[in-house]
Amino acid sequence: MLAAIAFDHVSKTYRSRRGDVRAVDDVSLEIAQGEFFGLLGPNGAGKTTLISILAGLTRASAGTVMVMGHDVVADYAAARKSLGIVPQELVFDPFFTVRETLRIQSGYFGVKGNEAWIDEVLAELGLADKAGANMRQLSGGMKRRVLVAQALVHRPPVIVLDEPTAGVDVELRQMLWKFIARLNREGHTVLLTTHYLEEAEALCGRIAMLKQGRIVALDRTSALLAGTASTMLRFKTDDLLPPALAAQARVTGRIVQLKAHDAAEVEAHLGALRQAGVRVEDIEIGRADLEDVFVEIMSGARGGLA
C-alpha cells in the first residue's frame, strides 16, 4: 500500500556565517497509512525541521518527501491537501473570530459548505461556546485548540502534530488525544512529535528517535520497550548516593531511578544504599518506560535501529 509519508534520504543544511549546520542528516523513513507514529528526540534533534520540510515551509537540501504519493515540491498542492499540520508555535490571526478563522482555512483548501464539520470539530475540542469569540480573547489553551481545529478543517488523511500538548492542561490533553485517537481509528495517519514520552508510549504504534539530525532508533514501541532493562528501582531520598550508584542513576529532584535486570540486582542496589547510610522512602519497582529507553538511546548506551 502507498505510504502516507515517505522521507527518502532527506538532508537539510542551514548555511550561516559561523558555518554550516546540518539539521537533518540523510533521513529515510516510511509511515504507513493508518499508523500512529511518534517522532522523538531532544531539542535541536531535527524533528521540527523534518516536519517543516514535509509541510513545505522549508526546502530539503537533498532527498525527496512524499505525502500520499505526492512530492511535496513538484506536486505541492496535492501533498498539502493531504496534510493537516498543527504548528508548534502558538500563533493566531487577531482580526478574526474562531468560526471565521476556520471558515477562512476551509476556503484555502477549496472546501465549501463545511459548517457541519466545523461544528463537529468545535464540539470535539470544547470550543463550541467560543465560536463567536475573537482569537485575541482566548486563553493560551483555547488558542491551542483552535490550532488543532485549523489543521483538521479540511479532513486531511495525514495529521501532523508538532508538540501539540506543550504547556496545555490535562483536560485539553485528554480531550485532544480522545479526538485524535478517534480520527486514527477512522483511518487517518497521525505523526506526532512530543516531549511527553508517556504520551508517545500510550499512543504511538511505532517510534523513531532522532539525534543530531539522524535516526538513531526506529521500531515498534513495544519492541523498543522490550529491548531495555525490564525493571527500574525508583525511590526518593535527600541524601547523596554512593559514587558507584550515582554514576548509573537517573535523578529528577528527589526521585532516583536505577536500572535493575533482576531481583538480585535490586537487592544489590538496596544493599549498597543501606551500607552507605542513605535514607530512602517510597521505594517501588516498576517496568521500564519509554523515557528509560529514550535516555538509554540518547546517551548512546544502546542502538535502537530495527
Binding site: T58, A77, R80, D93, F96, E100, Q105, Y108
Partner: protein, 253 residues
C-alpha cells in the same frame, strides 16, 4: 498555475482591513480632506493650472489618486509584515495556494482598499469644487492600474521586510517622495525645465496625470504614453513579485 483559493484569500484580506475601517479607510479620507482645505484655501486664488479650472478642482483628482496609491501599498505591505512577524503566515504557507493565487488575492485586496479610500476621498471633497468627469474611462483605468501597481509594490516590500520599520522606511523614503513629486499638488508644466525632465522619470507622475485626464479631458502628457509607462512598470513589478513568491523569498527557508 492554479487560481484555486484566490477568492477565499481575497475575501479574508478585504475583511481584515474592513474590520478596522475607521483606521484603514476613514483616517486617509480625513487626511485628504485636510489637504484639500488647507492647500485649496491657501492657493485657490494664486494658481490656475488648466484654463477655466479652479485650483481646488484641479487638486481633487490628485488627492484621490494619492490616497488610492498610498492605501493600496499599505494594505498588502502591512498585512504581510504583520503575518510574518506574528507567525500566522504559516496558515497560508501550508495551503495548496499557488504563487499566482497569493499574488492575485493580495493585490486584489489592495485594489479594493485603494478604490474604497479613493471613492471616499472623492465623495467628501467633490462637494467643495466638483472636478467634472470628462473622460471617465481614463480615470478608471489609471485608478485600477495604479492601485494594482502599488499593491504589488506593497507585496514586494512586505516580503522583503523583516521588521515594521523597514516597511515604514519603504513608505517614507520611496512611496511618499515619489507621490509628492508626481504632480499631485501642481502641474509639472509649472516647474523649471530640469525638474520637468526629472518628473518625467517618475512613474507616479504618469499615474496621476492619466487619472486627472479622466476628470478634465486635459493632461500634461498623452494618456496613451502614461498608459504605456504605467502598464510596463506594472508588468515589471508583477513579474518580480511573482518570482519572489515562487521562490519563497524570505517566507520559506
Amino acid at each position: 498555475m492554479s487560481l484555486a483559493g484566490v477568492l477565499p484569500l481575497l475575501r479574508k484580506e478585504v475583511l481584515r482591513f474592513w474590520k478596522v475601517a475607521v483606521q484603514t479607510v476613514g483616517a486617509p479620507v480625513l487626511t485628504a480632506l485636510l489637504y484639500l482645505l488647507i492647500f485649496g484655501h491657501v492657493l485657490e486664488d494664486h494658481v490656475e493650472v488648466f484654463p477655466g479650472v479652479r485650483y481646488t478642482s484641479f487638486l481633487i483628482p490628485g488627492l484621490v489618486m494619492m490616497s488610492v496609491l498610498q492605501n493600496a501599498f499599505a494594505n498588502s505591505s502591512s498585512s504581510l509584515i504583520q503575518s510574518k512577524i506574528t507567525g500566522n503566515l504559516v496558515f497560508l504557507l501550508v495551503t495548496p495556494l499557488s504563487p499566482l493565487a497569493w499574488y492575485l488575492a493580495y493585490v486584489g485586496a489592495s485594489v479594493v482598499r485603494g478604490l474604497a479610500v479613493g471613492c471616499g476621498v472623492l465623495f467628501v471633497t467633490a462637494w467643495f469644487a466638483p472636478p467634472g468627469l470628462a473622460e471617465p474611462a481614463w480615470a478608471l483605468v489609471f485608478a485600477l492600474l495604479g492601485a494594482g501597481m502599488l499593491g504589488t509594490l506593497g507585496l514586494i516590500a512586505g516580503l522583503w521586510a523583516e521588521k515594521f520599520d523597514q516597511v515604514a522606511a519603504f513608505q517614507n523614503f520611496l512611496i511618499m517622495p515619489l507621490t509628492f513629486l508626481s504632480g499631485v499638488f501642481y502641474s509639472v508644466h509649472s516647474l523649471p525645465a530640469f525638474w520637468q525632465a526629472v518628473s518625467h522619470l517618475n512613474p507616479f507622475f504618469y499615474m496621476i496625470d492619466g487619472f486627472r485626464r479622466g476628470f478634465f479631458g486635459a493632461s500634461d502628457v498623452s494618456p496613451w504614453i502614461s498608459l504605456a509607462v504605467v502598464g510596463t512598470s506594472f508588468v515589471v513589478l508583477a513579474s518580480i513579485a511573482l518570482r519572489l513568491l515562487t521562490t519563497g523569498y524570505k517566507i520559506r527557508s
